[in-house]
Amino acid sequence: MDIPKIKYLRNASFQDKLKGFFLTISGLTIFNLEFFKQLFTLPIEIEQIKKHMSELGVKTFSIVSIMGFILGFVLALQSYPVLERFGATDFLPATVSLSIIRELAPILTALIFAGRVSSGIGAEISSMRVTEQIDAMEVSAVNPFKYLVVSRVIATTFILPILTIYVIMISLVGAFIAVIMTDNMSLIYFINAVVASISFGDFVPAILKTYVFGYIVGIAGSYKGYTADGGTEGVGRASTTAVVLASLLILIVDMVMVKITVWLWPSIG
C-alpha cells in the first residue's frame, strides 16, 4: 500500500495547501480501499476488536452521559417558552424527542466521539509508527494494518450506534426533568407523547448513519496515525489533524445522509 506522503511546511503557500488537500483525498481513498481488502482476509482479530470496543465505551461513557443529559435538559428549557407562546406546550415531548433522535444525538455524540477517540487512535498509531513498532510488526510477518487499523475501525463502527442510543435515552431523561421543573406534565404522559411521535423513519435512519460516523472516526484517526512521520511533532500533528478530518467528514456525510433520508422517507421531511 503506497500512500502519498504529505510534506508539512511551516509557511505553506496556498498551492502547497491545495496539493496537501488533494494528497489527503487520494491517501484516504487508498487507505479505505486497503481497509475493505483487509476486512475480508483472515485472521479476524476478535480479541482486539472486543478490547477496543470496551476501551472506547469506557473512555467516552462519562462525557457522552453529561453531554446527553445537558442536551435534553437545555433543549426542553429553550423550547418550552416558544411553544407556550403558541399554546402548544403539549407538543414539547414530541418536539424535543424528534430533534434529539433525528439529528442532535447522532451528530453531537459523533462529534464528541471524534474528539475523544480519533485523536487517541491518531496518537497511538502515530507513536507506534515513529518508534518503528509498526515496522517491527511487519518484519515479524504480522500484518500491522489488520492488527492495528481494521480492529479499531470495526470497534468504532459498532460502538458509536450503541453510545448514540444511550445518549438518546439520557437526553430524554434530561428533557423530562426540565419539563417537570416548568410544567406539571406526568411521566406517563411524557413517555406516551414521545412514543406516539416517533416512527420507523425517525429512528432507523438516524441510527444507521451513526455506523457511518463511527467508521469515519476510526478511519480518520487510523489514517492520520498510520501515515505520520517526523518524530514527536508528527505524533501531535496526527492527533490534532485526525479530529479535524473526522469532524469535517462527519458534518459533510451527515448533510448527504439527511438528504438521502428525506428522499427515501418523504413523510419525515
Partner: protein, 249 residues
C-alpha cells in the same frame, strides 16, 4: 567456514526524491557470518537493511535470500521469507502497550501453533538467553535502555531465525552495556548458528562480532574486508572515520 551466500545483493539503488541513498550497491553475505555495515549517519546503512527485509522498496537492483529473489513477492510469500528473519531495531521498538511476555509471544501466537505451556516455556528460555527472566511481566516503560535492547533481541530470536539484522544495536548505551550487548550478540550467533548483518558505527562492537565488514559513504561501498584490514586502510575517509571512533571509545 564461509559457505553459500545467504543474502545476495546486486546493483541496489534507492533514492528519496533527488537524494540518492544507495548507489548500485552489490554485496554477498555468507552462511554463518557476522557482516558489519559501517558508515556515518545518513550514509544509507539503515535504508540498506530496510530494503533487504522489504520495509522499503528499492528503485532497482536485485535482492536474493537463500537464492530466491525477494523483490516483487506477494505479501504472503514475503511474510514466509520474513519468518526466517529477526530484526533488532535501533530503539528496540518494543510494543509499549504490551508486557515483555506479550512482546515476545506476539510473533509466535500469530505465526505458529504453540500451546500456552509451550509459549510460556519458550518465553522463559529466550529471556534466560538474554539474562532477563525476571523482567517477564514488566512493561517496556519500566525497562532501562540496555534492558530494552536485550528484550528486543529476545523478541527477535524467539522464532529461531536463520538471519538476524541489527540496526545500531549499541547506539545510546554506555560503553559497558554496549560491550555486554556486543558479546551477547556474538554468543547468540554462535549458539543459534545465525547469519547476521549489523549496521553500526561502533568500532568496539564491530571488533567483537565482525567476520567481515563494508564501509558505506554517500550510497557507495568505499571499502570491504575484515576489521583489521579496514582499520589499517590508507583510505583517508576510513582513517578519519576510525580515528574518530577510537577517540570516542
Amino acid at each position: 567456514m564461509m559457505k553459500n551466500p545467504i543474502i545476495e545483493i546486486k546493483n541496489l539503488e534507492k533514492s528519496f526524491g533527488d537524494l540518492c541513498i544507495l548507489n548500485k550497491i552489490s554485496l554477498n553475505v555468507f552462511e554463518g557470518e557476522n557482516f558489519i555495515v559501517f558508515g556515518q549517519s545518513g550514509s544509507g546503512k539503515s535504508v540498506l537493511l530496510k530494503c533487504i527485509v522489504g520495509l522499503l522498496t528499492p528503485d532497482s537492483g536485485e535482492i536474493k535470500i537463500n537464492g530466491k529473489s525477494v523483490l516483487n513477492l506477494s505479501n504472503d510469500n514475503l511474510n514466509n521469507v520474513r519468518k526466517s528473519m529477526g530484526f533488532l531495531f535501533q530503539g528496540a521498538a518494543l510494543y509499549d502497550s504490551m508486557s515483555v511476555r506479550d512482546n515476545l509471544q506476539f510473533p509466535l501466537i500469530r505465526n505458529y501453533n504453540f500451546t500456552n505451556d509451550e509459549l510460556t516455556q519458550k518465553t522463559i528460555t529466550t529471556l534466560a538467553m538474554v539474562g532477563l527472566e525476571s523482567a517477564i511481566d514488566k512493561m517496556p516503560s519500566e525497562l532501562s535502555g540496555g534492558m530494552k535492547k536485550r528484550i528486543g533481541l529476545a523478541r527477535a530470536i524467539i522464532t529461531e531465525p536463520k538471519i538476524m539484522f541489527y540496526d545500531e544495536p549499541t547506539t545510546g548505551l554506555d560503553p559497558i552495556t554496549s560491550k555486554e550487548i556486543s558479546v551477547l550478540i556474538l554468543e547468540l550467533q554462535r549458539k543459534l548458528n545465525m547469519t547476521a548483518i549489523v549496521v553500526t558505527h561502533d568500532l568496539l562492537c564491530a571488533e567483537i562480532i565482525a567476520d567481515r565488514a563494508i564501509v558505506l559513504n554517500k550510497g557507495d561501498i568505499v571499502e570491504e574486508g575484515t576489521i583489521e584490514e579496514l582499520t589499517a586502510s590508507d583510505n583517508k575517509l576510513l582513517r578519519n572515520f576510525f580515528s574518530h571512533e577510537i577517540i570516542n571509545q
